[in-house]
């Protein structure tokens, strides 16, 4: 075992250390591909809305640059320093979420963002990395709590508040956050019994929510019968796009469904355009890139010098994997429709920037990891 030069003190910045070029390269390729797809899928919408065809891509490009800067900066931060900040960050997230919720309620609309100039900050996207850090930190600091039901409840108390606030406006993001919490608990817990009990309660609550809230029932109808359901339009258009892709697709830029037929074509439904233009082949390449990235993350986690780093990466892996699976599940109508973006690829500033910041966290862990030859 060869140990890399590492900073053991709780200093804020890390100088030198191992740079995981595989992660950087894969991330860069996926983001660049995402920019191309955003351009392809949004130019029609941009033009018909009176913007230049490159409007959404340029914006996304700016977000990507900010995101990469954030990624680099975070990778240079000593992730262990974050243990000092985790609770503060958690309260900040809760405050932001509560703020948009109250603001949204006050303006009688479902507002999910804070307007900063022409940029809309989505607190729910910020909440995801904060939940990861908080959970990872809690599972390290309060590792004994993991042995009891009450202890676990204490650990997840603040994240549950946070998820509750998110769920009020955005169920799918709440589900993603919930998955992150469960995954980190799963990895950290010595025993599974308590976790399973809590899991059953959690799933039961979710099921109750789905049955009682009307519009989610509509989504089930749209899922089961997209061809006849009124709400199934988007799903159906997505299936048309994916189906017409075939093996090799219509060719880059040649999607027709993006020309006003497919709603959210540059956003939640961007994978449908990928399928239509690049075919099954292109879709498999994209999925392959994600699998390679996740596999690389797992490699970094396994080499992490401490459990905090491992738990953080567990959260990041879960975040990316769940969004990838749910997004493809929705566009292929495998699961009921819900609005989850495809990581790194779907249009959206906050999502991209904080996703890249999470990659920065992984890179930060990798700087201090122990490499096994």
């Amino acid at each position: 075992m060869e140990k890399v030069k590492r900073t053991t003190k709780n200093s804020f910045w890390i100088k030198g250390g191992y740079t995981d070029f595989q992660t950087i390269f894969l991330t860069f390729v996926i983001v660049l591909f995402g920019l191309m797809m955003v351009y392809s899928s949004s130019s029609y919408r941009a033009i018909t809305s009176g913007y230049p065809g490159t409007y959404f891509m340029m914006r996304q490009g700016v977000f990507a640059v900010i995101g990469f800067v954030a990624m680099y900066t975070v990778s240079r931060i000593n992730y262990r320093y974050l243990t000092n900040l985790s609770v503060i960050l958690m309260y900040l997230a809760i405050a932001l979420l509560a703020y948009v919720l109250v603001l949204g309620r006050a303006s009688h609309g479902a507002t999910r963002w804070i307007q900063i100039g022409s940029f809309q900050l989505q607190p729910s996207e910020i909440a995801k990395p904060i939940i990861i850090i908080y959970m990872a930190d809690a599972c390290v600091k309060k590792s004994k709590y993991l042995n009891t039901m009450v202890g676990i409840l204490k650990i997840i108390a603040l994240p549950v508040v946070c998820i509750g606030l998110i769920a009020a406006e955005n169920l799918s993001t709440a589900i993603v956050c919930f998955a992150i919490v469960v995954a980190i608990l799963f990895v950290a817990s010595p025993k599974l019994f308590n976790l399973i009990v809590l899991g059953i309660i959690g799933v039961g609550a979710a099921a109750l929510l789905v049955v009682t809230v009307g519009y989610r029932g509509d989504r089930f109808e749209a899922w089961r019968h997209p061809e006849t359901s009124e709400k199934g339009f988007q799903t159906l258009q997505s299936l048309y796009a994916i189906g017409s892709g075939g093996f090799f697709g219509r060719g880059p830029g040649n999607s027709i469904q993006k020309l006003g037929f497919l709603p959210e074509s540059h956003n939640d439904m961007i994978f449908s355009v990928v399928c239509e233009e690049l075919g099954l082949f292109g879709a498999l390449v994209v999925i392959g890139l994600f699998v390679m990235l996740i596999f690389r993350f797992k490699f970094v986690a396994d080499g992490s010098i401490d459990s905090f780093g491992g738990f953080i990466i567990t959260g990041v892996i879960t975040h990316i994997a769940v969004q990838l699976i749910v997004n493809i599940g929705v566009v292929t109508n495998t699961i009921p429709p819900t609005g989850v973006t495809l990581p790194f690829i779907s249009y959206g500033g906050t999502s991209l920037i904080f996703m890249l910041a999470e990659v920065g966290l992984v890179l930060s862990v990798s700087r201090q990891m122990s490499l096994t030859e």
């Binding site: 299936l239 994916i242 189906g243 093996f247 999925i287 780093g309 495998t334």
Partner: protein, 578 residues
């Protein structure tokens, strides 16, 4: 320091494995949709994205037997605008309003409407459309279309019929031969975006339209015009309800002309052709009645013209010869009923020949009784009276007869002189044709050939004939007798110098008998020995004198004086009879 333990790594591996399993399921789903369901969803997507611009196929033309166009197509255009392609709105609005003679505000509304395509006007004359096309205005689309056009307007309206908005046949020949006449529309399929705007550079699939085939009729425009004029003349003179005239070749069933006046304007078929109803009160039923062709769509009591059938049956059954003598006291007692002859004082003693010349009812009642109901029905069946004629027009009516088992002596007696049952005029034509052509039951028809674009014959239309339905000897006898009706009997008003004509008159009282409404009719053929023209005229509800021999027969005489020379039938030396 807390280490990321082996236990933790194992759990992370489990998460990784679960994630990969779920990803595999998604890949499976993608594989299913993009390989197995690709065609299904792909086709649905194309159906959604593709926009079909139809290219109208011209409908086949209808010609008369001499190649004169009866139904043609007028090239028209429809003008529409595509908002997104217009560059100079004002120019488009002012030019279109000027040339199409439309209000600027109407056009402005359509030009300014953000839609894929707004139709401004259809059925625009080709010349005007060409002018607009020459202006080369961006966003103005001109599509060629065809509109059915009937150069003779009213000619043979009830035979030809007309077409609807999509050039589909509605009534008459137009609907009967719709499959032949209707072409196959072509199309230009292009991919469009969700607003229906064509995607530049997208592959265009063009399917050329196939024009409909042409139809050549047996109808002769000149004969048709002449009989319509003759019919109108007598209708006006007698202030009749309607007059029907059918001219047919009894040898092969070719119909030269079929008039049912008043006719209506085929170019304007929804305008009522009589003034007995206010324009505003005209109902669909009135229009349907106007379009009805009495010659085939309605039945009537033929009256004395049917004595031809009775006489034929009698000869077929061998129960009478032309010199058999009868006595007419002006009536005949049938059972407990006293059925009158039209000559109430009686014809006295007469031969069968004289009986038919006089159209004497008691003679025919006697002959009918000799034939008997069963044999009478057998002969009527042979003459096709229990079936539709098979004419190539829609909506042909069937005959109405008593059931054979219900025919008592009174029914038989009245049927013998053409009452108490109903047939269509064309059924009578067909039966009489068989009587006078040597015993061949023909199918009356209009369609002769189907031709292609270049008037090459694609197919000759064939019709069923059935020969030997009656004995040739019977046929010869009947022709001789019917010629005598014209030369010496009730039909002498149809006599035409230089031509031999055979025929029979009729005056049928319409039901109820007390209404004193009549149908005067005459059926006549020429040349008498080898008939090639058979004509039936029906005058419905004439005022004043209503005897068929007086008012119907001379019309046929007049028609024959014109159409016999026209048909190239030469005058013959007529030996003075008796």
């Amino acid at each position: 320091m807390n280490v990321f333990t082996h236990h933790n790594k194992l759990r992370l591996l489990q998460i990784f494995v679960i994630a990969m399993l779920l990803v595999s399921i998604m890949i499976g789903r993608l594989f299913y949709i993009m390989v197995f369901k690709s065609k299904y969803y792909g086709d649905k997507a194309v159906a959604l994205q593709e926009r079909e611009r139809s290219i109208k196929a011209p409908r086949g033309l209808i010609y008369d037997r001499n190649g004169v166009i009866i139904a043609g197509n007028k090239a028209v255009c429809s003008i529409s605008v595509i908002h997104s392609q217009i560059t100079d709105e004002e120019a488009v609005i002012s030019e279109l309003s000027k040339r199409l003679d439309m209000d600027e505000s109407v056009i402005r509304k359509k030009v300014e409407k953000v839609s894929s395509r707004e139709k401004i006007k259809s059925n625009v004359d080709k010349e005007i459309a060409d002018e607009i096309r020459d202006l080369d205005l961006d966003g103005v689309m001109i599509d060629d279309d065809y509109k059915r056009y009937y150069p003779y307007s009213e000619l043979a309206s009830k035979v030809i019929g007309f077409t609807g908005a999509d050039n589909q046949g509605i009534v008459g020949i137009e609907v009967f031969y719709d499959d032949v006449l209707m072409g196959t529309n072509g199309s230009i399929n292009t991919l469009t975006d969700a607003k229906g705007i064509e995607i530049p550079g997208a592959a265009e699939e063009r399917v050329e339209p196939v024009p409909g085939d042409n139809l050549v009729l047996t109808l002769d425009v000149n004969i048709q015009m002449y009989i319509e004029q003759a019919a109108m003349k007598v209708m006006q003179e007698k202030n009749a309800n309607r007059v029907c005239i059918i001219v047919m070749n009894p040898q092969n069933g070719e119909i030269y002309g079929m008039a049912d006046v008043p006719e209506y304007n085929l170019n304007d078929p929804f305008t009522y052709n009589r003034d007995d109803i206010d324009e505003a009160d005209v109902t669909q039923d009135d229009l349907n009645n106007m379009w009805r062709n009495f010659c085939i769509n309605d039945t009537y009591e033929p009256g004395s013209t049917f004595k031809i059938v009775t006489a034929t049956s009698a000869f077929e059954e061998g129960v009478v010869s032309i010199d058999d003598t009868f006595y007419c006291p002006g009536y005949k007692l049938v059972g407990d009923r006293r059925i009158k002859c039209h000559k109430t004082v009686g014809h006295g003693a007469e031969t069968f020949k004289q009986g038919i010349m006089n159209s004497c009812n008691p003679v025919f009642m006697e002959v009918g009784a000799r034939v008997g109901a069963e044999n009478f029905y057998k002969n009527m069946e042979k003459l096709g009276l229990f079936e539709k004629t098979g004419v190539d027009l829609p909506g042909e009516a069937g005959s109405i007869f008593h059931k054979l088992e219900n025919v008592g002596e009174v029914e038989l007696a009245t049927m013998s002189f053409g009452q108490s049952f109903q047939i269509t005029p064309l059924q009578l034509m067909r039966a009489v044709s068989a009587v006078i052509n040597g015993g061949t039951l023909v199918t009356p028809h209009f369609g002769k050939y189907i031709t292609d674009d270049n008037n090459n014959i694609i197919s000759e239309l064939k019709y069923n004939t059935k020969s030997g339905v009656i004995d040739t000897e019977t046929s010869e006898t009947m022709k001789y007798l019917l010629e005598a009706v014209i030369s010496e009997g009730t039909g002498k008003n149809a006599y035409l110098e230089g031509y031999s004509i055979g025929g029979k008159t009729a005056t049928s009282e319409k039901l109820p008998r007390s209404s004193n409404k009549y149908i005067s009719s005459f059926i006549g053929f020429s040349p008498a020995q080898n008939p090639t023209v058979l004509t039936l005229i029906l005058i419905d509800e004439p005022e004043g004198i209503y005897y068929g021999g007086t008012i119907a027969a001379p019309v046929v005489g007049d028609i024959y004086s014109n159409i016999l020379p026209y048909l190239g039938i030469e005058k013959e030396e007529v030996e003075d009879s008796e």
